[in-house]
Amino acid sequence: MGLTDLMSMAKPNLKSREKILAKLGGRELVNCFQCIKCTSGCTALKLLELKPHEIMKLVNLGFVDELASSDIIWTCVTCLKCLQRCPQKASPYHVMIALRNLTVEREAKVPEAFMKAVSQILETGLAEAYQKVTTRKMEACDREGLKLPKISAPKESFQAAFLKALEER
């Protein structure tokens, strides 16, 4: 009975779809009428192969598990153009984040860069590690060389709060 994806023989999983809807806290996703505006403007489409309108349709049909285990949801660069311009206020961006959270919950594989970013924040409190800069005379300088103050490691209370926020998500 019902729908089958003949390319992969996958069946929809409506429970997973409900989970995504619960994470979104609204049913705007269901209103998507495939105007393709999100994909037309998608920054990641030009770099990678992210087609937000396909993700919207797949989630709507219930093919959530395939998406949650695919690399594609991690390619969104969160520029928020789709969120701004969606005529149905359906926000592919929020769907993408909900799919990522579902993946983390299932303890499936998360791309290394994301794990790195988490440990980076935990250790230094910074989303980007500070790097050496090269001057016009081609000398490599670090903060010390430029006489900038040292960046101290974050307080323990920060780490606790950060981990708690992650858990809650």
């Binding site: 009428f33 105007c35 037309s40 403007g41 489409l45 153009k81 311009r85 149905q88």
Partner: protein, 667 residues
């Protein structure tokens, strides 16, 4: 002792599919004073009505309760049926088992049946206290008012005038014609808009039964159905309409340039101008915001128009006029506005000269427009090599307007065909769409014609438009058909802007008490069965003020509204519902609260002699009272009672609702 008949309707499965109608009828049989209780598949059918009539005669019934759909649907039907059997029609009580029970409680049939029983019990309790009432008859004015001189207003006026009614046609602009006058060709037949509209404009102006009031607005409305008193404010033209011949000599000498509204501000006209080349009446008008003499209020300033005018028509002394009219009914046909795409930053309307709206395209394509009908890119003035149309701008968009504009698709198809026909094969036309809707008669065939003419359809809309330094535009669009991201470079982008409620709609709503729907347009009395009437009796709706509409639908609705008005006024008198307020003078303390809450100004305070003392007492003006009940609920002494909804009749229902179900009918 009353003898009550209760009739439970199945409404097919609409009610019986949820509510156990047999149980409800059985329950009703046990209620006090109920003589007959039956259930039947369709009470509103001929057989159902006859069943009630037969019972009235056989069982000497004097109260009838019908548990069926909403009274808005069939109360009138059942009142007529019992009247035929000799019973006063106001002794019928409708209990709503469909909208109030079976539809909202579709998933809980047992509770629904219990609720149905309670509602029937309440109906029985109330029915005992119903009093026979007679409809009121009032005479009506035979003149009518049409507000708005677009194609809807013109059509309604002509139909009413031909039916023998005297019509006052009020138009805000200096000329009638409205939005249709701005269009080039019309879909799906491509007849020229002016060719089919102008003769109608002239007919309306020349018709002996039509009084044209252009440059005028309705300022005040008083009264009620059949007897409205309307004040129209006529703004000064500063040109005598009876003398001006429309030669436009004055326009050629006027030194002040003003954006031309008729041409969507694409060109300039002068401070004195004739509204458009086929304006009716073809009379000049001075724009007081721009005319040098009117702005400075000095007699020695300018006056060039005065010197050249051969008929001495120019009159700087004209004053605003108030015209009082007595009319029996009104057709509201104030039309709609076009969505302003500058609200939508991503398409760059207003920022890029070569991004234009569909109504601007009409003016550019029109032979009487700013380019003489040559389609050009505004920036270069050259014929475009690539034109792109973008659909659903401002409509089907929850950020702006959620509804479909109903004309955007066909307007674009027509403009795409016009572009191809005028510019030849050496150019490309693309249409970026979400869904293409060509639903009307001959519309799908027209869509085929556009495809025949090599109009390219891209299933997808762009996210944003970029401008190149040379004025050309480029954007990415993902096409569902090819699954490819396409880049389109164009020298003209036309936005299919939707229709939005007119800027005046709030004022119209206030003046005529005509309600608005959630989308901002005027609300019809019933979405299917009363599409031509507003929520206020005697006020009818025509055209795009009720919802976005194309020309065929607008004309159909206008003729329909006119026919409705003829139907209302033709007999010279109308029947009013007897549901009105009455004042018990002994209880009235003269506090004037009712006077202050009455929205229809139907309460008058009169001083009366009681026990040799002069006292102020409220009095209801019957013709004005619409039976809303505001006065009755506000009255602190209970002196004002609503006929058919007296305090007792309402309270007994509340008591019956609170009584236990086993109690069979309560107190």
């Amino acid at each position: 002792m009353t003898r009550i008949g209760v009739y439970v309707c199945h409404c097919g499965l609409n009610i019986a599919g949820v509510v156990d109608v047999e149980k409800v009828a059985d329950y009703a049989k046990g209620l006090p004073d109920v003589v007959v209780a039956r259930h039947y598949s369709y009470m509103c059918s001929e057989r159902g009505q006859r069943m009630i009539q037969d019972d009235i005669n056989a069982h000497k019934l004097d109260r009838i309760i019908i548990a069926t759909c909403s009274p808005r649907m069939h109360e009138e039907t059942f009142r007529k049926a019992v009247a035929e059997a000799g019973l006063n029609p106001y002794l019928v009580e409708i209990v709503n088992l469909r909208e109030h029970v079976s539809w909202p409680h579709v998933h809980e049939p047992e509770k629904a049946t219990e609720k149905a029983k309670t509602l029937v019990r309440m109906g029985v309790a109330r029915a005992k206290l119903l009093e026979p009432l007679e409809k009121r008859k009032v005479s009506v004015e035979k003149d009518v008012l049409v507000v708005g001189g677009g194609i809807a207003g013109i059509q309604a006026s002509l139909d009413l005038a031909n039916a023998g009614f005297k019509v006052y046609l009020v138009e805000k602009a200096p000329s009638i014609g409205g939005r249709m006058a701005q269009l080039d060709k019309t879909f799906p037949t491509l007849d020229c808009s002016a060719c089919i509209l102008t003769p109608k404009m002239v007919d309306a102006a020349k018709h002996p039964n039509v009084t044209l009031l252009t440059n005028s607005e309705v300022a005040d409305v008083k009264g009620f159905v059949g007897n409205y008193e309307v004040t129209v404010a006529k703004k000064p033209r500063y040109v005598d309409e009876t003398k001006c011949v429309g030669c436009e000599l004055c326009v050629s000498v006027c030194p002040v340039k003003v954006p031309d509204k008729f041409n969507e501000n694409l060109t300039q006209t002068r401070a004195i101008c004739v509204y458009s080349s086929h304006a009716v009446p073809k009379v000049a008008m001075i724009n007081p915001n721009h005319c040098l003499r009117l702005r400075t209020k000095k007699k020695e300033v300018c006056g060039k128009c005065l010197q050249v005018c051969e008929t001495k028509a120019i009159d700087f002394e004209q004053k605003p006029q108030k015209i009082k009219l007595k009319v029996g009914g009104v057709v509201v046909a104030v039309g709609s506005d076009v969505f302003d795409a500058s609200e939508m930053a991503e398409f760059g309307y207003g920022r890029f000269k070569n991004v234009i709206s569909n109504i601007e395209f009409e003016r550019i394509s029109d032979a009487s427009g700013p380019t003489g009908g040559k389609i050009v890119s505004p920036q270069s003035g050259q014929a475009p090599k690539v034109i792109v149309f973008i659909q659903c701008v401002g409509s089907r968009d929850k950020r702006f307007h959620e509804y479909c504009c109903r004309v955007g698709c066909m307007v674009t198809l027509k403009q795409a065909v016009l572009a191809r026909e005028k510019l030849g094969d050496d150019m490309a036309v693309y249409v970026c769409y979400i869904d293409l809707r060509s639903f009307g008669k001959g519309y799908e065939e027209f869509y085929g014609r556009a495809r025949d003419l090599d109009v390219n359809f891209v299933a997808g809309v762009p996210s944003e438009i970029h401008g190149a330094p040379d004025g050309s535009l480029y954007f990415d669009v993902f096409d569902k058909g090819t699954n490819k991201l396409l880049e389109i470079r164009a020298d003209l982008v036309v936005l299919a802007n939707g229709l939005v409620p007119s800027a005046d709609i709030a004022r119209i709503n206030e003046l005529f008490h005509a309600s608005r729907s959630a989308d901002g347009f005027l609300l019809e009395a019933h979405p299917k069965l009363r599409p031509l009437e507003s929520s206020t009796a005697g006020i009818f709706l025509a055209g795009a003020c009720q919802a976005p509409k194309d020309i065929p639908d607008t004309v159909a609705q206008a003729s329909g509204a006119a026919a409705k008005l003829v139907d209302l006024l033709s007999s010279g008198e109308i029947e009013l519902e007897p549901l009105k307020a009455v004042v018990d003078e002994d209880l009235c303390s003269g506090c004037r609260i009712c006077e202050s809450v009455c929205p229809f100004l139907a309460i008058e305070m009169k001083s009366k002699k009681t026990d040799g003392e002069e006292k102020l007492r409220a009095e209801v003006i019957e013709e004005m009272c619409q039976g809303c009940g505001a006065c009755s609920s506000a009255c602190p002494t209970g002196a004002v009672q609503m006929k058919h909804y007296t305090e007792k009749q309402v309270l007994v229902q509340v008591q019956a609702a609170c009584a236990e179900a086993e109690d069979k009918g309560g107190s």
